[in-house]
C-alpha cells in the first residue's frame, strides 16, 4: 500500500443481532446489516456505488441486496471465501476505489451459520447421515476428519509437541475473550469463565475442548469503505486504513500437511509487509483482534504476526495478557468464542468502534464517546485505543491483516 496508507477509511459498520435461529433469509439479514452500516456512516443507499460479499454457497448476493435497497451499483461481486475474506475485501475495495471503478463500497457477510449451513459440518439435526466423499473430501471424509476443529487440531497438537505449551494457554484465550463478552450486551455468552472451567469442559476433538470452540450463529455484518476526502464529511471521525495483507498464502496452500511445519501459518508470510506499509512496530499496537474460531487460532496468529517469537505464544498469553486493561487486549467484543461467529467481520466492526471511542457497552453515554472505564459497571471501551492490528484466518495456509488507526494516532 505504502502511498495509499491513510488514504482510505472505514466509515460505517452494522450488524444484526446474533440469532440462534434467525428464522430469516440471508437477504433479510443482509439488508438490516447494510442499512445499519449506512445509518452509522450517515450515508443514503444512493451514496453507495459498490458492493461485495463473501460466502460459501450459503448466502444471498450483492445484486439482491442492491435491488432490495434500491441501489444502482457501478460494481458488484460476490466471492467464495472463508475467514480472512472480510479484511481481504477491504483491500479489494481500496483497489477498486483507487482505480475509479466506484467511490463508496459496502462489504457484507450474511449467514445462517447455526440454523442453516454450519461450518462445523453438522446438519441441524446432528451428524451428516450419509456423506458423499468426492473431490478433496475423498481424502478427509473417508477418515472422519472434516471439520475445522478436527483439521486445526492437528496443527495445535503438533504445536503442543514442538513447544511444550499446554492447553492452559488455550484457556487463557477463552477466558480473556469471554471476559470481554461479559462487557458486551450483544454477546451470546456473558457469564465469566475461569481457566478451570475451560479445563473441565468436554472434549470435542483432542486437543480442543468445548470452550476452545466458537459459537456458530445466524448473523449478518456490514462495513463501508470510502476515500479519506469523503470520510471527513461523514458522521463519525474517520478510521484510517494504514496497511495490511489480503489472503496471503503459505507455500503448498491447499493441502498443507507436507509443509515443513503445520503451525508455520500464513501470517508469517505477511506481517512484515503489513507493518512496513503502515510504518509501525508491534509496540505501537494498542489492541488486536484475532480470528478466534478456536482458542488456538488466536494463539498461533499472535505468533505468526510477530507479536512474540516462534514457539513462545503459550508463554506470551499467560497471566491475562490479552484482557482489557492488560498489555495486549484481544477481541474486545468477545470474538467468535463468546460474542458469536461472524466469519471474521465482527472483529473489524469492534475495532472500528474502539478506535472511534464508541464501544456500544453499558455506559449511558457510549454513543457520544462518554465512557466510565469501570469494568464492573460494564464499560468495555479501552482508554487508549488509537491503533489496532486485526488478523484474519482462513486455514493455517491463508490469512489477512488490517492495521487501522483512529484520529488520535
Amino acid at each position: 500500500m505504502g502511498a495509499l496508507t491513510d488514504k482510505y477509511c472505514i466509515v460505517g459498520v452494522g450488524e444484526t443481532p446474533h440469532m440462534r435461529p434467525s428464522n430469516r433469509t440471508t437477504l433479510s439479514m443482509a439488508c438490516e446489516a447494510v442499512t445499519k452500516a449506512l445509518a452509522d456512516a450517515g450515508l443514503k443507499p444512493g451514496d453507495v456505488d459498490g458492493m461485495t460479499s463473501y460466502q460459501a454457497g450459503d448466502s444471498t448476493t450483492s445484486p439482491h441486496v442492491a435491488t432490495a435497497l434500491g441501489m444502482r451499483l457501478n460494481y458488484a461481486v460476490d466471492i467464495l471465501g472463508g475467514g480472512s475474506s472480510g479484511e481481504a475485501l477491504v483491500a479489494h475495495a481500496i483497489g477498486l476505489i483507487e482505480a475509479g471503478y466506484c467511490k463508496t463500497m459496502v462489504i457484507f457477510r450474511s449467514m445462517n451459520g447455526r440454523s442453516g449451513r454450519r461450518m462445523g459440518g453438522q446438519t441441524p439435526g446432528g451428524p451428516v447421515p450419509v456423506a458423499n466423499a468426492e473431490g478433496d473430501a475423498q481424502f478427509n471424509m473417508g477418515w472422519g476428519w472434516t471439520t475445522p476443529a478436527q483439521r486445526f487440531g492437528m496443527s495445535a497438537m503438533r504445536y503442543l509437541h514442538d513447544t511444550g505449551c499446554t492447553t492452559k494457554a488455550f484457556a487463557e484465550i477463552a477466558v480473556a475473550h469471554r471476559y470481554h463478552a461479559t462487557l458486551n450486551p450483544k454477546a451470546i455468552h456473558r457469564s465469566p469463565i475461569t481457566i478451570e472451567d475451560h479445563q473441565r469442559s468436554r472434549w470435542i476433538v483432542k486437543p480442543f475442548r468445548l470452550l476452545d470452540c466458537c459459537q456458530e450463529t445466524d448473523v449478518s455484518v456490514a462495513i463501508i469503505v470510502t476515500s479519506r476526502e469523503r470520510a471527513y464529511d461523514l458522521r463519525h471521525p474517520p478510521v484510517f486504513i494504514m496497511g495490511g495483507y489480503a489472503r496471503t498464502l503459505t507455500d503448498s496452500p491447499q493441502w498443507n500437511y507436507s509443509r515443513e511445519s503445520l503451525h508455520y501459518v500464513a501470517g508469517n508470510y505477511g506481517w512484515k509487509r503489513a507493518f512496513g506499509m503502515a510504518g509501525i512496530t508491534h509496540k505501537d499496537v494498542d489492541f488486536v483482534s484475532c480470528y478466534d474460531a478456536f482458542t488456538f487460532t488466536t494463539l498461533i496468529q499472535l505468533e505468526a504476526n510477530g507479536f512474540c517469537g516462534r514457539g513462545e505464544a503459550g508463554e506470551f498469553v499467560k497471566g491475562g495478557r490479552l484482557q482489557i486493561d492488560h498489555e495486549l487486549p484481544s477481541n474486545l467484543s468477545g470474538g467468535h468464542l463468546s460474542e458469536g461467529y461472524t466469519h471474521g467481520v465482527q472483529m473489524v466492526i469492534e475495532n472500528i468502534r474502539q478506535l472511534r471511542h464508541r464501544a456500544d457497552d453499558a455506559c449511558p453515554g457510549w454513543a457520544e464517546g462518554k465512557h466510565t472505564y469501570d469494568r464492573k459497571a460494564g464499560c468495555r471501551q479501552l482508554r487508549k485505543a488509537d491503533l489496532c492490528c486485526g488478523m484474519g484466518w482462513g486455514w493455517e495456509n491463508m490469512a489477512s491483516c488490517l492495521i487501522l488507526r483512529g484520529m488520535a494516532a
Binding site: P127, V130, Y257
Partner: protein
Amino acid sequence: MPGPIDYSKLRILPDFDTAEWWAGTKARKYLVRQCKACGHKWFPPIFPACAKCASLDVAWFEASGKGKVYSYVVVVQPIVGAFIGAVPYVVAIIELDDCKEADGTVTRVAGVMLDEESEVAIGLPCEVVYEETNDPKIVMPRWKINGTAANAWRFTE
C-alpha cells in the same frame, strides 16, 4: 480398538485423478503421486501437477506404507455419520519413511488409526492396514502402530 466405521453412510466417489489411487488400495498398494520430471512425491493425488517443477507428467510411487506419526487428533464428537459408532477414534498425519527428498521435503499422509488413543503418540512408527468396505470397489487404508520410539510424545490431558 475404536468402534467400527459404518461404511454404508459413506460413499467414496473416485474421479479422473484419484481412480488409480483407489485401485491401488484395492490391490493393497499405498500409492503417492510422483513427478516423472523431477521425482517429487506428493499426497493426496487430487493435485494433477508437480508443485516443484509444474510438470503435468506424473506417475505413481508405491510406498512401503510405513511411516511415523507426525501429529494426531482424537475425535470425540462425531460429525460424519459413518463415524458415530467409532468415537473416540484417532486420526493421524503420518510421515512416510520412504518419501524423504534431498531438500528435506517429506510426504505426509493422513488416516484413521486402528489403535486406541492410549496407544498412539507422535514419533511412533506405524504401518498401513487395509479394511474392506461394503463397496467392493473401495478398500480403505487405515494405520496401526507397529513399534516403539524413544522420543514418543503423547497428549495426556
